[in-house]
């Protein structure tokens, strides 16, 4: 597979078109927080809402968002929206940490598909340093929003 095809895995192209979580959803009184992330170099932006359950150890109920950006940033937000529901905030943080570590590895870390699931498809992004920020856009928004929602 060429580096380009590794960057644009079919799974990413699919998610960039059929986007999970697109369209902000009402939290219906549950703990929630919004976060806005903006990439000034390309103008990509996302407004993302994390809604938690009201259990004693809260889990992610839903991630919803609206955004404008490249296929990588939109697909990454979509993948996370699909994966996150049901995770505790600690599990979500751990997933974000693993994803970030993979992206920053310049291609040196082989993704653990058991842990990363569909997000492992973004391993090819790590070889394109300029695109790492694109993949992280929605994930940073979720990381920040989850922290705030859990307060």
């Amino acid at each position: 597979m060429s580096a380009l095809d590794q960057l644009y895995q079919q799974i990413i192209l699919d998610h960039s078109k059929q986007r999970n979580g697109e369209g902000l959803q009402d939290a219906h009184g549950l703990p929630s927080a919004d976060n806005h992330q903006y990439n000034p170099t390309c103008g990509d932006e996302i407004n993302l809402r994390v809604t938690l359950t009201d259990e004693s150890e809260p889990k992610v109920k839903e991630i919803s968002w609206e955004g404008d950006g490249c296929s990588i940033s939109m697909a990454a937000a979509s993948v996370l929206s699909e994966m996150a529901p049901g995770m505790t905030t600690a599990e979500l943080q751990s997933l974000v940490d693993d994803f970030r570590e993979m992206l920053r590895s310049r291609g040196k870390i082989e993704p653990d598909e058991e842990v990363l699931g569909d997000a492992a498809a973004f391993a090819g992004v790590a070889k394109f340093v300029a695109r790492v920020k694109c993949a992280m856009l929605g994930w940073v928004a979720a990381e920040e929003a989850a922290k705030e929602a859990a307060l």
């Binding site: 380009l4 390309c42 103008g43 932006e45 296929s71 990588i72």
Partner: protein
Amino acid sequence: MSNKYSIPANTELTNEAVKALRADFPILNQQVNDHDLVYLDSGATSHNPLQVLDAEREYYLYNNSAVHRGAHTLAVEATDAFEDARATVASFIGARENELVWTSNATEALNLIAYSFGNASQGLGGEAARQFALTEGDEIVTTELEHHANIIPWQILAQRTGATLKHIPLREDGTIDYEAAEKVVTERTKILAFTHVSNVLGAITDVDFMVKLARKVGAFAVLDACQSVPHMPVDVKALDVDFAAFSAHKMLAPTGMGALYGKNELLEAMPAFLTGGSMITKVTMTEAQWMPAPIKFEAGTQRISQAVAWAEAVRYLQHIGMENVHAWESKLGARLAEGVSSVEGVRLLGPAAGTERAGMAAIHVDGVHPHDVGQLLDTQGIAVRVGHHCAQPLHRALGITASTRASAYIYNTTDDVDRFIEALGGVRAYFGL
């Protein structure tokens, strides 16, 4: 110093001539991602020919010294080289040497005007500088087409002085709405700042119209000439602008240097901007007297080797002839505009194909983000600019956040344009559209 050129003086540029002069640009003769490089990003930065690189190196090899100080031979040689360079670059745009201020880039040149006017507004520069003072009720007018460098300094100046910043809107095709301009510019307008050539759309402004508008109300006309001076004959006296800003690295010279043209009587009357060493005559612990323009605006050690290199770049362009440069780039621009217009799902931004434009074209690819377009082109060795090109308000007016821009220069052939168009034809298909 290498004065050998690859093509004879005043050669009409053709694919043959361009292929010959590309010998002066080794950076272009390389493979990128297993393809011959197609560099279509000269609107962002251009490449230095060997002659320019040699000039900078030879300055350091044989003449390097501090300028405007010291009595030794090298210091004199360095000063001569520095001031000769100023005369060369100034005459290239039809200016006198005391009308060209070296700056670190065109952005600083525009900031220089804004800060100097701001200083005048606070009383610096005395009676002579009163003409530059702004106050509440005064207006600064720019256009929606501008690069951020021709917007933000005016925002800050407006905030400092209480003046109002207004802008001339654009027509549907992204060009300046001249009818609206007549209404936006009023008796209260003190500054009219506008671009000569849009750095995104390649649209060429009717400078004559804008200058007449400024004159009618007694406003200063400030021209962003970054995308015109490198690409077409520009005579600031014929255009009759009060100020013009342009940049070295967009015209075959190194980064780190720009210039401000200002009518000498204005530069002389304006208060200083950056202050410190070199720009003074007499200093006490409480006050200082300034050198005449342009040195008044050149505080601290200057970019001497870059100035020398820039002058060599000017000689290189003069050797080809700016009429020839402009004619060739107009052809490339027309070919770009026609080519992209023929690709399904691609919208040409700015003036339609077949109308006058500079050698560049910005596009919107339906359903594919510019970053993805740029990435795909890069894998085929094609370098273009993607993003907002430091013109967010323009993109907002066009209803998009970013675009893809191909910009040509003297070293591009029609093959380069065709490779770009061909690759563009495959973009939407790759993304499943």
